[in-house]
Amino acid sequence: MSDRHLIDLNVNGETHEALVEPRKTLLDVLRHDLGLTGTHVGCEHGVCGACTVLVDGEPVRACLMFAVQAESAEIRTVESLGRDGELSDLQRSFSEHHGLQCGFCTPGFLMLAEGFLAQRPDAGREEIREAVSANLCRCTGYQTIVDAIEATATRRCHAKEKEATA
């Protein structure tokens, strides 16, 4: 198993070097080599979505991708949300709506929603519910997660309209 590759990973706008076995998942490299532990391990077979990150803007299961496959991509993790210690509008909305309890699945849902809203900024409640069904949460019953994302979509749309009319 001494077959290792030196790779560059562009994560949250920074370039990192990592020496990895080809079998090492992007998830494990993010967590263990780069210390970005916000992305969580829930099932390691692509169902629960706790490890969701954005790869070139698309929500992706970091447990189903090998780190060596992600070399030329732009990766975003939960650590990229918010700025200067302030929560992003999406994060604030999760808190306002009690869209998290134990918080373990939360980074995955945040990145899923971030990627989804970038593609479908005017998504309605049912579309959001459909998108959110990609990930598992065991605490909330999902309703407040849908509420939080819907409120963010509405707020962002209003802000855009305001910008357009200003």
Binding site: M1, S2, E21, R23, K24, D28, R31, H32, G35, L36, T37, G38, T39, H40, V41, G42, C43, E44, H45, V47, C48, A50, T77, V78, E79, L81, G82, L87, Q91, F94, S95, E96, H98, L100, Q101, C102, G103, F104, C105, T106, P107, L110, R129, E130, V132, S133, A134, N135, L136, C137, R138, C139, T140, G141, Y142, Q143, T144, I145, V146
Partner: protein, 801 residues
């Protein structure tokens, strides 16, 4: 009993303040067990049994040790640890004590049982090492069902448990049971019988179990960082298994990604990892993977009830005769034992109804399946389903409306002492039923149901009424004759020189928002801003003992201890303030705004900061009999039989005759958990619980093949409902303040899970009411519905014209 609750005086209790745990969890800065990295840390993985029941003929770890990166590999013999033994103080004919070895010795009892431990430089190498292990099994016949457990000459899961019976208790048999049944048969009454069953379910916290164990020479202690709801219980059991003094083990819990009861018992893997860390004198980490969690983690819920009930002609229940069998799997869990489910069912089966005569026999059987542990609701989803099915069946046979029959039977006078010798504190059993029905009726669901039926569609309405004991004090557990009796909790509170406080509790948050809700209680009690209160929990060094978080006990018991400790500190602050203000202690009071005020001259006041400054930095100014420390400790236990939250759930479903799928169209929950500390949090607990209840009603199940192979080893086979399966749920609160707790609150953690299976099942049966088929087994899969509809069609066709 004098009511301790004195109304909603405070500023924080009752408000949905922003959760204090949110910022770190939303930014990825929460710290979960797998986030912990220690210098020189090694990684563990387990060799697990591939057969359900067999003799261990040989374990060869030589190839494992040759794998690159593998540092060590151990069998049970190598580690030589003491077993985990959970005990009840009951005679042998009622309880067979059995032992759970840390690693399997001599034989294996379920597929996935840990047989050997591999430790390596990284998790990938550890798994390589596991794959290289060679284990020889001599398979024995597997016990996979009630029938196979009771069969003549059946193989024994434990030699100590004859007939594969772990617990066999007949807790109640009142003198008039038989007469009541005879009267019902002879007169205009009815005897109804229902056999209900529920599938084996996984509590399924999204964070799997995990541990990082390391020896700390400085503290002369083994530091065990792990996700558990019960750190002190783990410390006790681990110290005994390792055969070391308890002071040499410290258990701490970082953030925890759910537990739901699965993490409120002591697991064997964590002890094995701790032993390896001690032996290697290096930190060792183990993170359970999902496959292990599904096949070898603690499971729950597989129960069968045969319930006979006698009703008089007015639809009033006159007697209940119940036989319960709980499949507890291969081992009894510590400290609750295999009695947890049957004893819960026996004691509380009459539920919210006035049952005059009661007989029950409840058995726990051993099988070659992963062992069971408490799971959110513990038996209550099952016995509630049994009695709610009885109500529905009786209503149908007596020609009564399902709500009306409940109305006639539900307890309305409190306190009520039941045939089960339990005294229920005041609740809103009848009111919640009326409100839930009104919601469904006012929204026109009954008309929608009838119109749908006319169009050949299957829409049904289902109800479930229940109460749940939430304040399980030591009295309640002692009644069960547990050898280890949980119940009380302790809190310590400490004020610093700036007048802020740190509160320590023996509870352990894993999503229930303790950092916010317990702080709200303290802030109100002392008159502090929420920001001046910090809660710390999950560390056995911070508090003498604690029972952790389970059975909805955190706010009722933990919250009361926290409140009492704050009250004691308040008294101390008043005493010092009186001295500083040169007045008598009974002439001062807390002013609700971070200070103490003189009653007869409100201009004279001492702030907490001023008092704290004196207490610590100018202690020569303290009264002579006051020590320079602003700390207080209090413990709390619930008196009597505890506190009871209650609720009614109302559900509307549609069964699709083409696919057999059940769609939930409306879900309403009316609940009463006493004083609501944080409405948003209580709503969240209800909705999350209901989602798990729906999961049990419609989706999740682990079955076993005849050879003991489990059906679900991944999320491909174990169907966890997602956002498209769980509907929006309305939650309405009633508040009957509890007289037994310091804050008027009852617990709110489990109710949703308890009410949902029965409500959903009743709604499905109502939807299928024209087909002549009744379903009494969960989960109700689409194929079950299709088969029922199919049978119904045949039945209709066979009806002579």
């Amino acid at each position: 009993m004098t009511a301790r609750f004195d109304g909603r005086q405070g500023r924080w209790v009752g408000a949905s303040v922003p959760r204090r745990e949110d910022p770190r969890l939303l930014t990825g800065r929460g710290r979960f067990v797998d986030d912990i990295q220690l210098p020189g840390m090694l990684h563990a993985a387990f060799v697990r049994s591939t057969v359900a029941h067999g003799k261990l003929a040989g374990i060869d770890l030589s190839a494992t040790l040759a794998v690159e990166g593998v540092v060590a590999a151990y069998t049970a013999e190598d580690l030589g640890l003491g077993d985990i033994v959970a005990l009840l103080d009951r005679p042998l004919e009622e309880f067979s004590p059995t032992a759970m070895p840390i690693l399997a010795r001599e034989k294996v009892r379920f597929t996935g049982e840990p047989v050997a431990l591999v430790v390596a430089r990284d998790p990938y190498s550890a798994e390589d090492g596991v794959e290289a292990a060679v284990v020889d099994y001599e398979p024995l016949g597997a016990i996979v069902s009630e029938e196979s457990a009771f069969a003549e000459g059946a193989p024994l899961v434990h030699d100590e448990a004859p007939g594969n019976v772990l617990v066999d208790v007949s807790m109640f048999d009142t003198p008039g049971v038989d007469a009541a049944f005879e009267a019902a048969r002879a007169g205009g009454g009815r005897v109804v019988e229902v056999v209900t069953k529920s599938g084996r379910q996984n509590a399924l916290p999204l964070e799997t179990r995990g541990v990082v164990a390391s020896w700390d020479d400085h503290d002369d202690q083994l530091l065990v960082q792990m996700c558990t709801q019960v750190p002190h219980q783990v410390r006790t059991a681990m110290a005994r298994s390792l055969r070391v003094p308890e002071r040499t083990v410290r258990v701490t819990v970082p953030d925890m990604g759910g537990g739901f009861g699965q993490k409120c018992v002591v697991g064997r893997e964590e002890i094995a990892v701790a032993a390896a860390a001690r032996r290697l004198n290096r930190p060792v980490k183990w993170i359970e993977d999902r496959r292990e969690a599904l096949t070898a983690g603690f499971l729950a819920r597989e129960q069968r009830y045969r319930t006979l009930a006698a009703f008089d002609e007015d639809g009033r229940i006159t007697a209940l005769d119940v036989d319960v069998v709980c499949d507890m799997g291969a081992y009894s869990c510590y400290p609750f034992t295999a009695g947890i489910e049957p004893l819960m069912a026996s004691a509380e089966m009459p539920s919210v109804y006035q049952v005059p005569e009661y007989r029950v026999r409840a058995r726990a059987i051993a099988s070659n399946k992963a062992p069971t542990a408490p799971y959110r609701g513990v038996s209550r989803p099952q016995y509630v389903m049994a009695i709610e099915r009885i109500m529905e069946r009786a209503a149908r046979e007596l020609g009564l409306d399902p709500v009306e029959i409940r109305r006639r039977n539900v307890i309305t006078q409190f306190p009520y002492t039941g045939v089960n010798a339990i005294t229920y504190d005041p609740g809103t059993y009848r009111e919640s039923l009326e409100l839930a029905e009104a919601a469904i009726r006012d929204e026109g669901w009954y008309e929608i149901r009838e119109r749908a039926a006319a169009e050949g569609r299957h829409i049904g309405i289902g109800y479930c009424c229940f109460s749940e004991r939430t304040g399980y004090g030591s009295g309640a557990f002692a009644k069960r004759k547990m050898a280890v009796v949980p119940g009380f909790d302790i809190s310590e509170i400490r004020m610093d020189t700036t007048g802020s406080v740190v509160v320590t509790s023996g509870t352990m948050n894993h999503g229930q928002s303790h950092e916010t809700t317990l702080a709200q209680i303290v802030a109100d009690r002392l008159g502090l801003h929420l920001d001046q209160v910090k809660l710390r929990q999950g560390d056995t060094e911070r508090i003498a003992y604690g029972w952790g978080t389970f059975a909805s006990r955190s706010v009722t018991i933990g919250g009361s201890a926290v409140s009492l400790a704050a009250g004691k500190l308040g008294e101390l602050l008043c005493k010092i303030a009186a001295h500083l203000l040169e007045t008598s202690p009974d002439n001062v009071r807390l002013d609700g705004d971070g200070g103490v005020v003189q009653i007869d001259d409100p201009q004279r006041r001492a702030s907490f900061e001023e008092i704290a400054d004196v207490a610590y930095l100018r202690s020569h100014l303290l009264p002579k009999d006051v020590e320079p420390t602003l700390t207080a400790t209090a413990s709390f236990d619930v008196p009597g039989d505890g506190t009871f939250s209650n609720a009614t759930h109302a559900v509307v479903v549609e069964a699709d005759p083409g696919t057999g799928q059940i769609k939930i169209l409306r879900y309403a929950c009316v609940e009463d958990c006493g004083v609501v500390i944080h409405p948003q949090v209580v709503d969240g607990q209800c909705r999350g619980g209901i989602a798990q209840g729906i999961a049990g009603a419609l989706f999740e199940e682990i079955t076993y093949a005849g050879n003991g192979e489990p059906s679900a080893a991944s999320f491909i086979d174990y169907l966890v409902p997602t956002a498209t399966e769980i509907p929006d749920i309305t939650v309405t609160h009633l508040e009957t303040p509890c007289a037994f707790t310091e804050n008027g609150a009852k617990g709110a953690g489990e109710g949703g899970t308890i009410g949902a299976p029965a409500a959903v099942l009743n709604a499905i049966n109502d939807a299928l009411r024209h087909t002549g088929v009744e379903l009494d087994v969960t989960p109700v899969h689409p194929q079950t519905v299709l088969a029922a509809l199919d049978a119904g069609v045949h039945k209709e066709m066979s009806v002579p014209s």
